[in-house]
């Protein structure tokens, strides 16, 4: 119990700048302020040490990482046809180029009206981490040498484009820079075509997508489409028109009252009966739509809280300036409401990314579903710890990165920090 760490249980207050202590004093203050604190600290340190040593021993002596190394392709893309995988490589290359170019261009055109920097905050650290991971991971995963070289080339492309556009990005006129945000939706749509086929490339049915590819596709699809749903439903819920309000409330409460797994159940077992014959989408798309409408209801609540936090005077002032209600919403109320709702929105996206694991329960081969098929393979039976740990680290990194990015964006959009 924490109540035992007795006396100064005041919330920690930052030390005055003059009272600069040595590290020894700081350590004493932090860990050994009272005898009881000392005992707790020693016990915790011992436990941490034991856990660390035990984990080290397991990870480097006992664990057999071959289950990961032998199945990297399966984990990455599932059973995506081997002959068509060049499309995914092309997509990754394009994505790396877009990231590198956007990163450099944003850095070479600092905005005077925004003080907070965009994430990543420290470029050198970010580049070092990226380069290290890109250099180490393909080797650790024991990828075949050609694949290792491909990953290194893609990372090099990203970093070179970052360097070039950071150095000479100022030559790009600001008018052109406005189209930079359009690059991303274009890339997304092109990526969908590349993955699914069409427009001349052979089709790959959704049942053959899998692994990380399916997880990211589902999550990004649901995130993108649930955002407009959330805004519309939130506006509906705050509307003065009873029909709009009550239908929004009904939708939100229906979705939020049921566990996601029962909604996926609805999508898999009942949706097919509700649509005219032949209209019912593939199992994968059904799940994607369920995720979208699920996330939309939760987003609506987040946006509604943001709308509620914008003073009524803002709308009234905008109306008295002659703006129509839609104009006032678009130019005055929503920008403020969405900024306030940003942390909750990103939190919802993070939990949606985590919720994609539920697809494995309805038999889809997302990252977790693929992992479970791998572990059912007699060759890798009982390698649960290795696989689950790898997935946990992967999810943790994705979610933590989203959280960090959200906090950086929050700081950047915070009007109290901007110089004007």
């Amino acid at each position: 119990m924490t109540t035992s760490s007795s006396p100064p249980l005041l919330p920690p207050r930052p030390a005055p700048p003059s009272a600069r202590r040595s590290w020894r004093g700081a350590l004493r203050q932090e860990l050994f302020a009272t005898p009881l604190d000392g005992v707790i600290s020693v016990l915790l340190l011992a436990a941490l040490l034991a856990a660390g040593v035990g984990f080290w021993h397991w990870a480097f002596r006992q664990a057999q990482w071959a289950v990961i190394q032998a199945n990297t392709t399966l984990f990455a893309v599932g059973r995506y046809p081997l002959l068509q995988q060049w499309r995914l490589w092309l997509l990754v290359t394009l994505a790396a180029a877009t990231i590198g170019a956007s990163w450099g261009l944003l850095r070479s055109h600092p905005r005077a009206d925004r003080s907070g920097t965009l994430w990543p905050i420290n470029d050198l650290v970010a580049i070092a981490v990226l380069a290290f991971v890109a250099a180490w991971l393909p080797v650790a995963l024991k990828l075949p040498v050609p694949l290792q070289l491909r990953w290194w080339a893609i990372t090099a492309l990203l970093l070179v484009l970052r360097g070039v556009s950071g150095q000479w990005g100022q030559l790009v006129p600001r008018r052109l820079l406005r189209f930079l945000p359009l690059l991303w939706p274009a890339l997304y749509l092109f990526g969908m075509v590349l993955i699914a086929g069409g427009l001349g490339v052979p089709r790959v049915p959704p049942s053959e997508w899998g692994g990380l590819l399916l997880t990211l596709l589902m999550a990004s699809f649901a995130i993108l489409l649930s955002f407009p749903i959330g805004i519309v439903v939130a506006l509906g819920r705050r509307s003065t028109l009873p029909l709009l309000r009550w239908s929004s409330v009904l939708y939100i409460e229906f979705i939020r009252g049921a566990p996601l797994i029962t909604l996926l159940f609805l999508g898999q077992n009942i949706l097919g009966y509700m649509l005219p014959g032949g209209w019912a989408p593939d199992r994968v798309w059904r799940a994607a739509w369920v995720l979208t409408f699920f996330c939309g209801a939760y987003l609506a609540e987040a946006v509604r809280a943001g709308l509620a936090a914008v003073p009524v005077g803002q709308l009234e002032a905008a109306r008295s300036l002659g703006l129509s209600v839609p104009q006032a919403l678009r130019h005055v109320v929503l920008p403020q409401a969405l900024r306030i709702a940003l942390p909750a929105t990103v939190g919802q996206f993070i939990s949606l990314l985590q919720d994609t694991t539920l697809l494995s329960l309805i038999g889809l081969l997302d990252l977790l579903g693929t992992a479970r098929t791998v572990m059912a393979n007699p060759e890798f039976l009982g390698k649960n710890a290795e696989v689950y740990l790898t997935l946990a680290v992967l999810f943790w990194c994705c979610c933590a990165a989203l959280g960090l990015g959200s906090r950086a964006l929050e700081r950047r959009l915070d009007p109290s920090h901007s110089p004007t």
Binding site: L9, L10, S41, L243, T262, L361, A385, A392, F395, C399
Partner: protein, 328 residues
């Protein structure tokens, strides 16, 4: 007033709301009519139109654990009740556990001990960024199924942990405290929890505990520092300060936050199906596979979870009214 200056009827403030609502209403009605029409037509064609008669037929599948007597010859409604009771059991244990753990970790965020403070932070950040389903599978397959056999079970006073379950000391035979005993290489104890149940509640408690910890931390942080300082300068000890000054004020902020965490725990308990615990969703899925009654099973599931959410909300609203400070 001339005709030119008159506002056209479709921009009249008295008409516009009705136009909008009419359009939205018609759209919603059309969609619903389309979906329901198809549903009725397709279900009729499949011979699966809404009926509840199958609830009385024998379930003919067994359930691994049940608090109420059950065997495979009993009807479907009975197996659904068994699932519901199992779900409620997991939810109640999870709620209590998550509250205790979350409160402890939330208060640790204000500890004078720097290590404890940081560990609390690390715990919250690690747990919140890993999917619950992954954590449940981890607890079940990596921790609980890897436990030693009965003969080599882990033993503490009153607690025995082995591959066959968690055995706890409890009152038995008329309020007699009785610990687990080993009889013919099989543990016997007044209270036995299956590994499935143990894995489920461990996962639910550690996961929800992290979210509860954030709620508690936020609640304590919302109490002005002056309250701490005033209580301390009145000579109150830390525990008295916490109990009589800080917590009563923090609870006003904590309780509404807890409500939504409790509801999400109740809904998350449906993931029990992944670890093989026979909760409501798990038995419903089996029922669907045997009867094909998708719509009825879905409606029952939806109703049950809505009811559970409602009960939690009502209870928490009651608690909320208790902790609100009555102002004169």
């Amino acid at each position: 007033m001339s005709d030119i200056q008159r506002v056209p009827w479709w921009r009249d403030r008295r008409v516009v709301p009705w136009l909008v609502q009419g359009a939205v209403g018609v759209a919603i009605l059309v969609v619903i009519a389309l979906l329901l029409g198809n549903l009725v037509r397709n279900l009729t064609a499949a011979g699966l139109l809404l009926t509840w008669r199958w609830l009385g037929q024998p379930a003919s599948f067994d359930v691994a654990e049940s608090l109420i007597p059950f065997d495979a010859s009993m009807p479907y409604w009975r197996v659904l009740v068994v699932g519901l009771v199992n779900s409620l059991r997991a939810i109640v244990v999870g709620l209590v556990g998550a509250t205790v753990l979350g409160t402890a970790v939330g208060m640790a965020a204000f500890s004078g001990n720097g290590l404890l403070r940081r560990l609390a932070r690390v715990y919250v950040e690690v747990i919140r960024n890993i999917p619950l389903l992954l954590q449940l599978l981890f607890w079940y397959f990596v921790v609980f199924l890897a436990l030693p056999n009965s003969t080599a079970a882990l033993q503490w006073p009153g607690v025995v942990l082995s591959k066959s379950g968690l055995y706890l000391a409890w009152f038995a035979d008329g309020f007699q405290w009785q610990g687990p005993t080993l009889v013919n290489d099989v543990w016997r104890a007044p209270l036995r929890l299956s590994v499935e149940f143990s894995a489920l509640i461990t996962g639910l408690i550690t996961y929800t505990g992290a979210f509860v910890a954030e709620v508690v931390r936020g609640g304590i942080a919302a109490v002005p520092r002056g309250q701490w300082e005033a209580a301390t300068s009145l000579g109150l000890h830390w525990s008295a300060t916490m109990r009589t000054v800080v917590l009563p004020q923090a609870l006003r902020v904590i309780v509404p936050g807890l409500n939504s965490q409790y509801i999400s725990l109740a809904k998350n308990s449906a993931l029990a199906v992944a670890v093989g615990y026979a909760d409501l969703y798990s038995v419903s899925e089996t029922t669907l596979n045997q009867t094909g009654r998708a719509l009825e099973v879905f409606l029952l599931l939806l109703g049950a979870y809505l009811l559970i959410d409602l009960v939690i909300s009502v209870l928490m609203n009651g608690v909320n009214q208790l902790v609100q400070i009555r102002e004169r």
